[in-house]
């Protein structure tokens, strides 16, 4: 079967969606199909150009292709008799971001017309799709709320589970992922001051700005945590990330209101590690059953310190909870096998 995966492109920018699209193509090929990635340049600014770009998607002709899997607005406007949408997100500025007052679409008659045009075109495109999947319950809820289309949640699996095989604990709590304000690694350092002396913390990942690095360094110095925190602030290879996770006692991931389960939490579960997160971490909470495989606590230094102490207290407990983490995660069946079964069904 010949499968085209269609995504948008902001020239010279690369992120999670691009990585996912490349992986999807690779996985489809490994299943014995032919697959190609189609990346279509899209810019939402100036707003006046939106309608033309939407029409352009309808005007392209995809021949010699058995299946189309489209991921984003306006790539899902492409016409194909067997189109599957795996919606990562719609044009949020026309929907929830507009309602939240965070849209750059003008609040004028013209802006209203554009939003209505998008809603109508979305409806038409979803209507001529064979299947609609989304990447999270949040995306599905929005799609239902704004467009009244039902969809099935198909969470993006880990791209490289082979790096997260688990291993013997070396006693530290690991906090991975991009380092920035929203991921709140700094709060973990503050929490350390409220945790028992034996708790050690490793923070590894690329800082988004020099200020993110400085803040961590200052907090560590202010609280005298030099001996208990290891900072490895750089872009790590996937194997290096795997090493840190595999030898952790437990993993902490406390982003603010994340849409998805969070790759960092998924990696922890894949490696069989207990997970510490917060009540306000959004989708990440879905990775934790309190008392079974981790902790969901208030986003305060005190509460997090207590959770970190509990996680570091006994190797046997950490191991048992880690095992539950992996079982819970396996039970969610977020695998490429299942994902492809559904996408190609």
């Amino acid at each position: 079967m010949k499968v085209v995966v269609a995504n948008n492109m902001a020239p010279f920018l690369w992120g999670g969606a691009e990585e996912l699209a490349v992986n999807l193509v690779d996985r489809i090929q490994r299943r014995g199909h032919e697959a190609e990635l189609l990346r279509i340049p899209f810019r939402w600014n100036p707003v006046e150009d939106l309608p033309a770009q939407m029409v352009a998607m309808r005007s392209l002709e995809l021949e010699n292709t058995d299946r189309l899997i489209a991921l984003k607005f306006p790539a899902y406007y492409l016409r194909h008799e067997h189109k599957t949408v795996w919606l990562l997100h719609q044009f949020r500025q026309a929907y929830d971001l507009y309602d939240a007052g965070m849209s750059e679409l003008p609040g004028s008659v013209f802006g209203d017309e554009i939003r209505e045009t998008i809603a109508r075109a979305d409806a038409q495109s979803f209507d001529d799709s064979r299947n609609i999947f989304t990447n999270s319950p949040t995306t599905s809820d929005r799609l239902w709320h704004y467009n009244e289309f039902a969809s099935e949640v198909l969470r993006p699996p880990l791209n490289d589970p082979e790096h997260f095989t688990g291993g013997r604990s070396e006693g530290y709590i690991f906090a991975g992922g991009r380092v920035n304000g929203a991921k709140r690694q700094n709060l973990l350092v503050e929490a350390l001051a409220h945790a028992s002396n034996k708790v050690k913390l490793v923070i590894a990942g690329p800082p988004e700005s020099p200020a993110d690095r400085e803040l961590l360094e200052q907090t560590i110095e202010r609280l005298g945590m030099q001996g208990r925190v290891t900072l490895d602030l750089r872009f790590l290879s996937r194997a290096e990330v795997g090493d840190y996770v595999n030898h952790a006692m437990a993993c902490a991931y406390i982003p603010f209101d994340e849409d998805s389960l969070g790759y960092v939490a998924m990696e922890a579960a894949e490696a069989g590690k207990a997970i510490i997160t917060t009540t306000d971490s959004g989708g990440v909470r879905g990775m934790v059953e309190v008392g079974n495989n981790g902790w969901i606590v208030d986003p305060t230094p005190e509460a997090l310190g207590e959770a970190m102490s509990a996680a570091s207290q006994s190797g046997a407990l950490a191991k048992k909870m880690g095992k539950s983490s992996r079982e819970l995660w396996r039970g969610m069946n977020v695998t490429w096998d299942y994902t492809l079964d559904r996408l190609l069904s």
Binding site: K2, V4, M9, A10, P11, F12, E34, E36, L38, R39, I40, P41, R43, D49, A52, Q53, V55, A56, M57, S59, L60, E61, L62, E63, N64, T65
Partner: protein, 345 residues
């Protein structure tokens, strides 16, 4: 520099136009440039011609790239203040092939209007370019004739990491190219039946239409030469190509009025084998001259058979012409340094 390479493609169909994009991207990156490939699907279907061109027109790379290099039509319809075109062919059915048997449509008032509109649109879009290069003298002449546009020739090279081969020349003439009526592999089978030597033929390459490779096999059997010809309908890797070509004493390449000298000619030069071609093969004649670095004969079985026998019996001369072909490539300055200097000048 941030370079966007823009081209069109048919999903799951490889070939020269895709190679030139990939190879140019790799060579630009080697020289420290940031490259993004913008590849949009394009169908030959005449009814979709203008809507697809309109879709290309909506792509505006002004803010994202420093320069846009446009390759396969209708890529040059995109918008960029520094639009450089490396023109490799027209949509030929509306140009030089209009008067030939290869025209895709009937000649009606509607198809003529479409042809004339395309020619006007092409002329306008190409007129926006800051520089226009062509891949051969032949294509440059067509551009002058039909669009009254001047251009500079930039010969497309093979990738620099292309491996050679030290295999000894055997008793075969090899033709590696898409198996296709316009490449005229059948003519060589006709010729083979008329040869007096023990020359053997290898015809390798993926057929766009499987019925042509079936026809070739049947044709060889009908003429009783099936034991002297190998017909291999599949994609051949670059490494394998080098070995196959080096194992033969000459390379055949007989396209009908080709746009350029064609990669098979350069591949022959890489391992110093002479090229057998025809007087009506177009751009191939820019590189191959009869008796100097190959044979250029009438596209008839008789003339081809005589040339095949000559090449077979006088191996010293064949070897000498092979060396001369590789010298011709240097003389024409076919190199990526020249190409990139030209495109970015």
């Amino acid at each position: 520099m941030k370079v966007a390479i823009v081209s069109s493609f048919v999903p799951f169909v490889g070939g020269g136009a895709r190679n030139i994009v990939d190879w140019l991207a790799a060579e630009l990156e080697k020289r420290g440039h940031e490259v993004v490939k913008v590849l949009l699907p394009f169908s030959d279907e005449p009814r979709f011609l203008f809507q697809q061109i309109a879709a290309f027109r909506t792509i505006d790379l002004t803010d994202s790239a420093d320069i846009a290099i446009c390759i396969r039509p209708p890529a040059y319809f995109i918008k960029h203040p520094r639009k450089v075109v490396w023109f490799i062919h027209h949509l030929r059915t509306y140009y030089d092939l209009w008067e030939s048997e290869f025209r895709l449509t009937r000649d009606t008032a509607i198809t003529r209007a479409r042809r004339d509109s395309l020619r006007r649109a092409d002329t306008a879009a190409l007129g926006e370019a800051t520089r226009i290069f062509v891949n051969s003298v032949v294509v440059g002449e067509r551009l002058k004739k039909y669009n009254d546009i001047e251009s500079t020739v930039l010969y497309p090279p093979l990738p620099t990491d292309y491996r050679g081969s030290s295999n000894d020349a055997g008793d075969t003439i090899t033709y590696i190219s898409r198996l296709d009526l316009t490449k005229r592999q059948h003519l060589l089978i006709d010729a083979l039946a008329l040869t007096t030597s023990d020359v053997r033929l290898v015809l390798a390459g993926k057929a766009a239409d499987a019925s042509y490779s079936t026809f070739l096999r049947e044709h060889a059997e009908n003429l009783g030469v099936e034991h002297r010809v190998t017909i291999d309908d599949r994609w051949v890797s670059d490494d394998e190509k080098a070995d196959l070509i080096a194992s033969s004493f000459a390379v055949a390449y007989l396209p009908v009025d080709e746009d350029s000298y064609g990669y098979p000619t350069l591949e022959a030069a890489r391992v110093q084998r002479p090229v057998l071609t025809a007087v009506d093969s177009g751009g191939v004649l820019e590189l191959v001259s009869d008796g100097l670095n190959g044979r250029v004969v009438e596209p008839t079985p008789q003339a081809l058979a005589a040339a095949m026998d000559d090449l077979f019996f006088d191996r010293d001369n064949s070897a000498r012409m092979g060396v001369a072909l590789s010298q011709s490539v240097s003389d024409l300055d076919i190199s990526w340094d020249t190409v990139i200097e030209g495109l970015l000048s």
